[in-house]
């Protein structure tokens, strides 16, 4: 039972991290909870569908099919999480410039709402298939002790949701000024680490066979399998032996998000100017 709970919790952690950050940073979006829950449901349904297809495939083929689906899902998540990071950065800038005047106004843009659903759905989808298959296999394998597994599952899920709430609550406790910047940095790092993971898979499969030599080896300091290594992997995409392509994907993603957020900030700057004009005319 505890084992099941641990597996579920471990699989949930990455979802919890992103959910926690996103829910803290999007409090300005009206009814953000509704969109987060819809996102979770969309992600879960997609996971269940993919899990169904995976179980239907008699035995996995010797090709790269499954892995390429994985890479595609990861790249979509990179895109969505990256976009979210940029949006949060801009929302933060907007929020700071209007503080004291329009702070109570909620963000009702359709864009923000759609993105909120997408980012949650893609995050849940990425890890959800594994959870669904794990539960499915257990449910069908041990029918007699099913209550034991159900309890384990509920404990694991509750702990996962608890972690998300704790992260969200912890983030709201810090000053608003830093909340957006911190969320931006964390989501950018998650995005970059996912991009490097995709690059790693492509080289490991042999689909890409350039830049596949390890750049450094820090295995003796922090092993990939150690707890520290795992936490660092989740937060900043730590890898003990990253290859050239992974490092390039990682920093290219960071650079791209940074530049895009600067371009967005420039736009928000003009918005700020307008706001001040309005204030003067009043």
């Amino acid at each position: 039972m505890i084992k099941i709970a641990l597996v579920i919790f471990r699989e949930m952690l990455e979802i919890s991290l992103i959910l926690g950050i996103v829910s803290a940073a999007t409090r300005s979006v009206k009814n953000s909870g509704v969109y987060i829950v819809s996102g979770i449901m969309v992600g879960f349904i997609c996971s269940a569908i993919l899990a169904f297809f995976i179980t239907r495939l008699s035995s996995s083929l010797s090709g790269y099919g499954e892995e390429m689906i994985d890479v595609a899902i990861i790249m979509i998540t990179v895109l969505v999480v990256g976009t979210m990071a940029i949006w949060i950065k801009n929302a933060g800038t907007k929020f700071n410039t209007q503080l004291g005047e329009l702070s109570a106004q909620s963000d009702n843009s359709l864009y923000a709402r759609i993105m909120l659903v997408l980012v949650v759905a893609s995050t849940v989808f990425r890890e959800g298939t594994e959870i669904v298959l794990f539960i499915h296999a257990i449910a069908s394998a041990y029918t007699l002790e099913s209550t034991d597994y159900a309890v384990g599952f509920v404990i694991g899920m509750t702990a996962g949701v608890g972690a998300a709430l704790a992260i969200s609550y912890g983030l709201t406790k810090i000053a608003i000024k830093y909340l957006f910047s911190l969320s931006f940095v964390l989501l950018s790092l998650v995005s970059a680490s996912l991009a490097s993971e995709a690059a790693g898979m492509l080289t490991a499969l042999g689909v890409v066979d350039i830049l596949n030599m390890p750049i450094w080896d820090s295995e003796t300091f922090i092993s990939d399998f150690s707890l520290v290594g795992r936490i660092l992997k989740m937060l900043i995409g730590y890898n003990a032996k990253p290859n050239g392509l992974q490092v390039i994907f990682y920093f290219a993603t960071l650079l791209f998000i940074y530049i895009a957020s600067k371009l967005g900030a420039a736009k928000t700057g003009t918005f700020k100017g307008k706001g001040q004009n309005v204030k003067i005319t009043r």
């Binding site: 084992k3 597996v7 471990r10 995976i54 179980t55 008699s58 035995s59 996995s60 083929l61 010797s62 090709g63 790269y64 499954e66 892995e67 994985d70 298939t129 594994e130 298959l133 794990f134 499915h136 296999a137 257990i138 069908s140 394998a141 041990y142 993971e197 790693g200 898979m201 080289t203 490991a204 499969l205 042999g206 689909v207 066979d209 596949n212 030599m213 390890p214 295995e219 990939d224 399998f225 290594g229 992997k233 890898n239 003990a240 032996k241």
Partner: protein, 124 residues
């Protein structure tokens, strides 16, 4: 529709002139994997990999054929090999590894990592 047809023709054309393209390679692998691949059969039973240590030659493509005999699903997870793949219950999973440098590459079964441990050892 024409566009789709055009893209598909282009796709076929690229394959014929460039047999080393990823897709063509993929088909080749499926057809005569034994010719140029090192194939290793691994059994997963009671959450234990056997053999737990697999010796393979360096600079050669390796296919791990994992027979999961357990009634539970498992996830083959290896940061050193940069791979994560689900091993369905009571089924066979192929994991293709691009040519590797000599060294030790640990892997685990993520769902039962207390017992499900193994390593690919690449030798010159």
């Amino acid at each position: 529709m024409n566009l789709i047809r055009y893209v598909y023709c282009l796709f076929l054309f690229v394959q014929t002139i460039h047999p080393e393209s990823a897709y063509a390679r993929n088909i080749l692998d499926a057809q005569d994997s034994k010719k140029h691949d090192v194939v290793v059969e691994i059994k997963l039973q009671n959450h234990l990999f056997s053999p737990a240590e697999i010796y393979v030659p360096a600079h050669k493509k390796v296919t791990l054929v994992i027979h999961n005999l357990d009634p539970t699903v498992e996830e083959f997870d290896s940061p050193p090999l940069k791979r994560e793949k689900l091993l369905k219950s009571n089924s066979i999973t192929h994991i293709i590894l691009a040519p590797l440098m000599p060294g030790r590459y640990d892997f685990i079964g993520e769902f039962y990592q207390d017992t499900a441990k193994g390593a690919v050892i690449v030798e010159e």
